[in-house]
């Protein structure tokens, strides 16, 4: 059976959820061979094996943490040469897309980014994408070379599918470009204890209607009752009320949770671009004409300062 390379996104050996989703998709096309790089690479093997990786190629070197993107491209290229896979799948993060693109160029292949689904096809994998702020759905294929495809978080279920997951050392020779861009400092993001925005099953967002950084506690209280991540519109971020890492939309994160709750957000096209594929959409907005109501499964026309705390209390009561 053909092998499929899966690039592993992990933090010091802890595999992030989108990679496990990729393994589910990879198994539709062939046998997943995972590539894990950097500190803790070998520690990823057990989790990857549990989710279907037949092999885990690992390599650790200081270059991965000290220089931007290119060392990882060099390693993925080495894996591509070693395995001759039927496809290469990479999580659709900002960095993942850059790695995938440079790899595609080097191996003479095409690249598809931000797939939301993947199926095997007679002429190779077919990727589903959601474009123009999710107003169109396209199906595309890479028609030259090994398909390189990046896949968005929440595009498939994580499934247990035990496989060998044999760890093998990957031999990597760094290219002349590998040390071109030096990472001279790194400030890790502080954990909020809440789920990762792009991975969360529920996202509760606040916009300009929240009217102040201090009022975001209302949004956070609802999020915590639901075990949700907190999002924000660009208007709220630009006003300095919430960090940019939590921005949902075209220039922020693209989310596709089971449930999205928009509070005091009008629903501009650039915001919709980042949340329109959510399964269930709910909004609270005092303006009945707000475009967000065109998207909702359930909407409340009202003041979020009344509705949201009442909702939070009601959930608390129902949970007993």
């Amino acid at each position: 059976m053909a092998e499929v390379l899966v690039y592993v996104d992990h933090v010091d050996g802890a595999v992030r959820k989108p990679t496990l989703e990729l393994l589910t998709l990879a198994r539709r096309i062939g046998e997943p061979v995972a590539v894990a790089l950097g500190n803790g690479a070998a520690d990823t093997a057990a989790t990857l094996a549990e989710h279907g990786a037949v092999k885990v190629l690992t390599h650790d070197a200081s270059e991965y943490a000290e220089y931007l993107v290119v060392p990882k491209v060099d390693a993925l290229q080495a894996a591509h040469e070693a395995v001759s896979p039927a496809a290469v799948l990479v999580p659709s993060s900002a960095e993942g897309k850059e790695i995938a693109a440079r790899l595609a160029l080097r191996i003479g292949s095409g690249i598809i980014t931000d797939a939301v689904d993947l199926e095997a096809g007679d002429e190779g994998p077919v990727a589903t994408q959601s474009v123009f702020a999710a107003s169109f759905t396209t199906k595309s294929r890479v028609i030259k070379g090994t398909p390189v495809i990046t896949v968005k978080p929440n595009s498939a279920a994580v499934e247990a599918a035990p496989a060998a997951g044999a760890v093998e050392a990957l031999a990597v020779t760094f290219s002349g470009q590998a040390t071109g861009t030096k990472i001279t400092g790194r400030t890790p993001r502080e954990s909020t204890g809440r789920p990762e925005l792009t991975e969360a099953a529920i996202v509760v967002s606040g916009g300009r209607g929240v009217n102040g950084a201090e009022n975001f506690s209302i949004i956070e209280a609802l999020a915590d009752q639901l075990g949700a991540a907190v999002g924000a519109s660009r208007a709220a971020v630009d006003a300095g009320w919430y960090p940019h890492t939590n921005q949902v939309g075209q220039t922020g994160k693209s989310v596709s949770p089971q449930l999205y709750i928009a509070n005091g957000i009008s629903g501009a096209i650039q915001h919709r671009a980042g949340m329109q594929t959510s399964k269930t959409i709910v909004a609270v907005n005092k303006d009945a004409e707000a475009p967000i109501f065109e998207l909702v499964d359930f909407g409340v026309v009202g003041d979020l300062f009344d509705v949201v705390p009442q909702l939070t209390d009601e959930i608390k009561t129902r949970k007993g």
Partner: protein
Amino acid sequence: MSLRIVVTVKYVPDATGDRHFADDLTVDRDDVDGLLSELDEYAVEQALQISENADDAEVTVLTIGPEDAKDALRKALSMGADKAIHVEDDDLHGTDAIGTSLVLAKAIEKAGYDLVISGMASTDGTMGVVPALVAERLGVPQVTLLSEVSVEDGTVKGRRDGDAASEQLEASLPAVVSVTDQSGEARYPSFKGIMAAKKKPVESWDLSDLDIEAEEVGLDGAFTKVETATERPARTAGTIVKDEGEGGKQLAEFLAGQKFI
């Protein structure tokens, strides 16, 4: 020595318009008004700021696109760029990211450069990969997705706010930079700028000027193929209630019905 900055800008269909596909499944660029991609305005802005802080710098804006793409160049010139290059050729229709990066890299080399500045992503394709591809082709460092950038003594420095960490980056020129919409508001063209732009040089190049064969680009040269594009069915109208004091409870009822609570 003069610092030569090339800014890559894309002419895109207005995102607030009714964007759709043409019969050949390429982005329809005729029926919706186009404009300079808003995200590339940030690239122009940073180029102008870097040039203002340099002893001697020249900002060239470069676009690949149809005839109308000149509008994007004119906007960038009226913001303050010095000159413009328009790569236009009928054979470019349908070019994908890999092909776009080839044409950009050839044009950038022909123009001469020390620093390339791009936007974080185009607002129509939203791939966010072209700057990395151009860096790969040019064989120079990529210093991408910066929310802060500066150039001093032949070195570019910047801050990249990633998912897991915020990183400080550094590379020697020549280099390819891309900037995000966090890098600083783009200036509006002044009346004087708009008038001056009319006199600024706009060069037109076609594929033969860049020694690129027609088969390398366009739909024929594409590495990817869109097989189907279907309009997403309008969401079925949801339930909308007006809060009369029970809105939060009604919402909780809905969420419970959907098994979220």
